[in-house]
Each structure stands twice: as C-alpha cells, then as structure tokens.
C-alpha cells in the first residue's frame, strides 16, 4: 500500500452545489419583482446595497487587514459625483456608474498616502479624510451646504420604471462585484492578499507585491462602495451630505461583517441578511436599535471574533463559496471518503502560482 498523499482541493461537493444554488437564487431574484410589492422591491434593493457595502468592507478588512472607519467617504462621493454628473446633463442611470468609476479614480491618490499607515492609524486617518471630504462637498454651491439637493433628473421616469430599473441595477451590481471579488480572492492575488494580512513583512520577503496588492483592494473597495452610494442616492433621490458622509455607514459595515464572519466570503452575505432582518424588525426603535448594533458588534469582537459563519465553518468544515484551498490528509487509504476524518484545512498559505 502506498503512502497516502494529502488531497488538495478547492471546494467540496457542498461548494459545487452552492455554486449552482447561487446561480438559481440570482435568477429568482431577477424575476422576483413580478411577485413583490413596491415596498418589498425597495427593501430588496436596500439589501443588495448592504451586501455590496459589507462585501467591500470585508474585502478590505477581512482579507486585506485594512480596517477603515472612513469608508463613508466613498459612499458619499459616489452619490455626490452622480448628482454632479446628472446636473451636467448625463443620463441619471449612466451617471450612477460613471460616478463610481470617478470614485475609484479618486481613491487612487488617497491610497498612495493612506496605505502607508498601519492599523489604527489607517483606520482613523481614513476618518479624517471622510470628515474633510464632507466639509469640502458642503462648500459646493450645487449642494447648498447641509440643506442638500436631489437627483431631479430621475423624475422623468415614472415611479415603477424607476423602482424596477434601480432594483435590477442593484442586483446586477451586487452580482458583478461579488463575482469580481470572488475571482480576485480565488486567484493568485487572493493568496497574496491573505499573505499580506497574516504577515506583511514575511509576504514581502517571499516576493509578494505588498503595496500594489493592497492598492488594488483599496481601489476596488472604493469603487464598490461608490456604486453603493450612487445606488442609494437613486433609491432615496435626496442628497444630504450629513446622511451620506455619516460614520453610521461604516458602523453598519462593521456590524455586518463582524456578525457574519470577518474574512469569510459567505460571512458578509450572511451578515447583511441578518442586518437587513434586524433593521426591518427593530429599525423603528430608533436609538435603542443603534445601541443594540454597537453592543452586538462589541460582543462579537470580544467573544466570537470569527463571526457566525467563521464559527460554523470552523466547527463543521463547511465551504460554500470557497476562496481558499484545503488539504485533506487521508487517515488510511481505504477510508477515502474522509467522512470521519476531520479535515485539516489550509486556507491561508500557498506559494504564488
């Protein structure tokens, strides 16, 4: 009998089924407005935006090790540029996406600067950027300070067309951004990203392009959050700088990702669903709702830092949308199914391809 060599696999049977499941879910979601009320369509749009926000923040913090409390800057800018472009005569729906591209472009010079900061300094440095950007946007005469303005040109479409278009745009954006992120994290860039998160110096020493990789992630996250901000503007029409540049958005992202499971692809989605339900049920309780969110984030970071999905994944070895690798060591050759052997998982380290 030959020595059993470890089996390296990218996913499990469950993850292949999950892949098909995701496709079916997206298809169903695309058809859903046929059966949903107008209010429900709006709520679903909000859910898609939360998923985008969470996935982008998770990509930055969970995979890149870059915790930012200033991501609202890109959310606000996404909305602001959309207003500006629409005001300049561009079709409002087109301007939503052109705006996000501009946000991505703006984040590039910011990254040159901020990515040299570490940990808490990066976190709060981004907050300063957000505060400054908020003040500068207020100076724009079109915005009229804190009074704000609206995306008036969207009013040429009737309410139901508008609602449906935004729903599909949000769904398509979410799907595309998640797909890009998934592809990125699964490929060699993903391995580099996780290597940097785990030990930046060690990663650099084995030839990972630390700064370039971080920058890619930073710009992607800025773009994604810019899309989310622009979509939010499209659903709510009004633009008040105070609401868009509020640190609350980052608080939501942190809550979602901490509860769902930081650093897991599925966690951000699960967290967004939970947040969505909590908001639906308790959003009306106002300040207690916010206290609850803060306290939950606090408790999770203390007691369950891997979040719900991270904990489940660890306990049961679940992999649905796996971006890493796992190594299974067969206990003996006859037991090939490996049903009883608890698989040793290696998801974080891999030599660069």
């Amino acid at each position: 009998m030959s020595a059993a060599s470890p089996v390296i696999e990218r996913g499990t049977a469950a993850s292949r089924i999950a892949g098909c499941g995701v496709a079916i879910i997206i298809l169903l979601l695309a058809l859903a407005p046929q059966f949903l009320s107008a209010g429900a369509v709006d709520r679903m749009t909000a859910l898609f935006i939360y998923v985008i926000l969470a996935a982008m923040w998770n990509a930055l913090a969970g995979f890149g090790g870059l915790v930012s409390v200033g991501q609202q800057v890109f959310f606000g800018l996404g909305a602001y540029f959309a207003i500006r472009l629409a005001n300049a005569g561009l079709n409002p729906f087109v301007s939503l996406f052109v705006s996000a591209v501009i946000v991505g472009a703006v984040s590039w010079p910011i990254s040159l600067f901020m990515l040299r900061l570490r940990n808490g300094e990066f976190a709060i440095g981004m907050w300063v950027i957000a505060a400054l950007t908020h003040l500068l946007v207020n100076l724009d005469r079109l915005i009229q300070g804190e009074t704000g303005t609206s995306l008036i040109s969207l009013n040429v479409y009737d309410a139901s067309t508008r609602r449906l278009t935004i729903y599909w745009l949000a769904l398509a954006s979410m799907t595309a951004l998640l797909a890009v992120l998934f592809g990125l994290l699964r490929g060699s860039t993903g391995a580099a990203i996780r290597a940097i998160r785990d030990n930046e110096d060690a990663a650099a020493s084995i030839g990972v392009r630390v700064t370039g990789t971080k920058r890619l992630l930073f710009v992607l996250a800025a773009f994604g959050i810019g899309v989310a901000g622009a979509l939010w503007l499209a659903t709510s029409i009004t633009f008040q700088p105070k609401t868009y540049f509020s640190v609350q958005w980052t608080a939501y992202m942190i809550f979602i990702v901490l509860v769902g499971g930081i650093g897991t692809f599925e966690g951000a989605i699960l967290g967004a669903l939970i947040f969505f339900l909590i908001e639906t049920w308790f959003g009306g309780t106002g300040v207690w709702y916010l206290i609850g969110l803060g306290a939950t984030a606090l408790i999770f970071s203390l007691l369950l830092p891997r979040g719900l999905w991270g904990t489940l994944e660890e306990r049961f070895g679940w992999r649905l949308l796996s971006v890493g690798y796992r190594v299974r060591l067969p206990v003996n050759a006859s037991d090939t199914t490996g049903g009883t052997a608890s698989p040793a998982q290696v998801t974080t380290s891999r030599e660069k391809a």
């Binding site: 913090a61 090790g65 915790v67 409390v69 600067f113 040299r116 900061l117 570490r118 940990n119 808490g120 300094e121 976190a123 709060i124 440095g125 907050w127 300063v128 950027i129 505060a131 400054l132 003040l135 500068l136 207020n138 100076l139 640190v247 608080a251 942190i254 901490l258 300040v287 207690w288 916010l290 206290i291 969110l293 803060g294 306290a295 939950t296 984030a297 606090l298 970071s301 203390l302 830092p305």
Partner: protein, 298 residues
C-alpha cells in the same frame, strides 16, 4: 492678528490635553481607542448632570468624575482591550468603535439631542478675561486650560521618568514580554496606564464642556482633534503633543480667516500636510505615527 495667534495657542492647550491620553495609550498598549472622544463627552455629561441636578459646581464635580474615569479606564483595559488585543491588532479598533457607538447613543437616549454647556455653572469665569499689554484680551478660562495642559504634560513626563510605577509602564511600552521577565506586572502596568489616560480624558471633557458646547455625538470630532494633534506633534515627547495641539489650533484659526466654514478644514488640511511630510521624509513605513518615546530621560 496677534490676538488670534494668542487665542490659537491657548486653544492648542485644549487639543494637547485631549490628545495626550490618546498618544499615551497608544505608546503603552499600541491601541488607538476609538471611544476616546466619546469618553470625553461622557465625562462632560457627568459633570453637567452633577451641576444641573445636584448643584455641584464643575470644578468640585471633577473630584467625583475623575476617579470615576480612572475606574472606567481600568475596567476598559481589563475587560475589553486586554481581551481583544489578544485577537490581533485589528480587533481593538472594532471593539472600541463598537463601544463608541454604544456610548454616543446611550448619551443620546439619556440626554436627547440638545447641545449643552458647563459654562452657566462656572460663573463669570466663562467670559472673564485679562487685559494683556498691547490691548490683548485673553479669556481666563483659556489660560487656565493651557496651564492645566502644561502641568498635566509635565506631571506625566515626571511620573514616567522619576517613579517606579512610571518606569514599569515605560518598560511595558518598550517590550511587554521582557518587562514581564524582569518582574514587571504587565497587566497592572497596562491597567494603570489606561486609568491615567482616562483621567486626562475626563479633564479634557470637563474643559470641552466649559469652553464650548457639546452634544451626545460630539465624541467623533474630539477623537479626530486628538488624533490630529497627536500625529502633528509627532514622535518627540509628550511636549510634542503640546506643539501639535498648538499647530492644529493655529491652522484652524487660519482656516476660519480664509473662509467662514474653514475652521475644521484648516485643521484637517494641516494634519494631512504634516502627515505627507512625515511620510516622505521618514520613509520608515511609519510603524509608530503616534508613538512618543517614553524612554527619554530629560
């Protein structure tokens, strides 16, 4: 113009006061406490409550609030920071951010959205001023705050360099493991450092309430001021924090002169310029933007 510069320098004393706790905690525990500003506002509300409900003047109220802040600091370190610091460098950011949200919203729930001030409770101190040569009018309160900042920074420096406890805190900040090996109780040193930091935060909160108004969500702005002053002050010593505070205040004064809404913008821009210069002159990848050398013997 001279008048504004003098006012700016005095305001810098307040920023130094709120910044020194942040950079002190960062130096010792390598943690940036995102609830820093919210805790200062908490202290201001505690003093306001004592003054308005129990008629205890704010300066007397400090005798109650400061020990309370020390206990909060100790508990914060023991129950939150110590635990979350074990999970890596990122977790304390999230923990303290969650804490900040809880504090802000609990304050909002208790006290509502109204802006408050401690000024009505300190008599004529809030508007009295001295006339200095050259027909300069400087507020008594502003001078008191500045002097308090200087005394506090000097006292902290002396404490760190001249006392056994200060030495053990410094040792912990240099290398906690080695400090533990040579018999320093690292947990105790950290908890005491956190308690001291919170006392400075409590004092800063008191002065915030006396010189201006505050509301439950004022904590974020104070945190940003503290961070900016600490970073501008740089890695020199505690006195650097004072310089940082003064530079921040002068930049804000200048900003306000350029544009009516330029006060905050001026401060943020000055911060970014200093950051830019420091990034491109040091080239060390900035491991410790905030860290001052506590090991410096004067």
């Amino acid at each position: 113009m001279t008048n504004q510069i003098v006012q700016g320098i005095l305001l810098g004393g307040y920023y130094a006061l709120i910044a020194c706790g942040l950079s002190f905690m960062f130096s010792v525990m390598r943690i940036i406490n995102l609830a820093h500003g919210s805790l200062a506002v908490l202290s201001a509300f505690a003093l306001w409550l004592l003054a308005s409900r129990f008629h205890i003047p704010p300066f007397l109220g400090l005798a109650i609030v400061l020990p309370l802040m020390a206990v909060i600091g100790w508990a914060l370190q023991r129950f939150l920071l110590e635990r979350s610091a074990r999970g890596g460098a990122l977790l304390p950011i999230l923990t303290t951010f969650g804490l900040a949200i809880v504090i802000d919203n609990v304050l909002f729930e208790q006290f509502g959205a109204d802006t408050r001030s401690l000024a009505p409770f300190i008599g004529n101190l809030s508007y009295d001023s001295w006339e200095w040569p050259g027909s300069l009018y400087v507020g008594k309160l502003a001078v008191i705050i500045f002097v308090a900042a200087v005394v506090l920074l000097g006292g902290l420096q002396l404490f760190l360099t001249r006392t056994g406890l200060g030495r053990s805190i410094r040792a912990t900040s240099e290398d906690p493991d080695t400090a533990g090996l040579v018999g320093v109780d690292v947990r105790r040193a950290n908890a005491i450092a956190a308690a001291i930091a919170m006392v400075t935060v409590g004092l800063a909160g008191a002065f915030l309430g006396m010189r201006a108004t505050f509301d439950p969500y004022a904590g974020a702005t104070q945190l940003l001021f503290a961070f900016e002053a600490a970073v501008i002050g740089g890695a020199g010593s505690l006195w650097g924090t004072l310089i940082g505070g003064i530079v921040l205040a002068l930049a804000q004064t200048l900003g306000a002169k350029v544009h009516p809404q330029g006060f905050l913008i001026g401060g943020h821009v000055a911060f970014l310029i200093v950051l830019f210069i420091r990034l491109y002159t040091s080239g060390l990848g900035l491991r410790g933007l905030l860290r001052f050398s506590t090991g410096k013997v004067p």
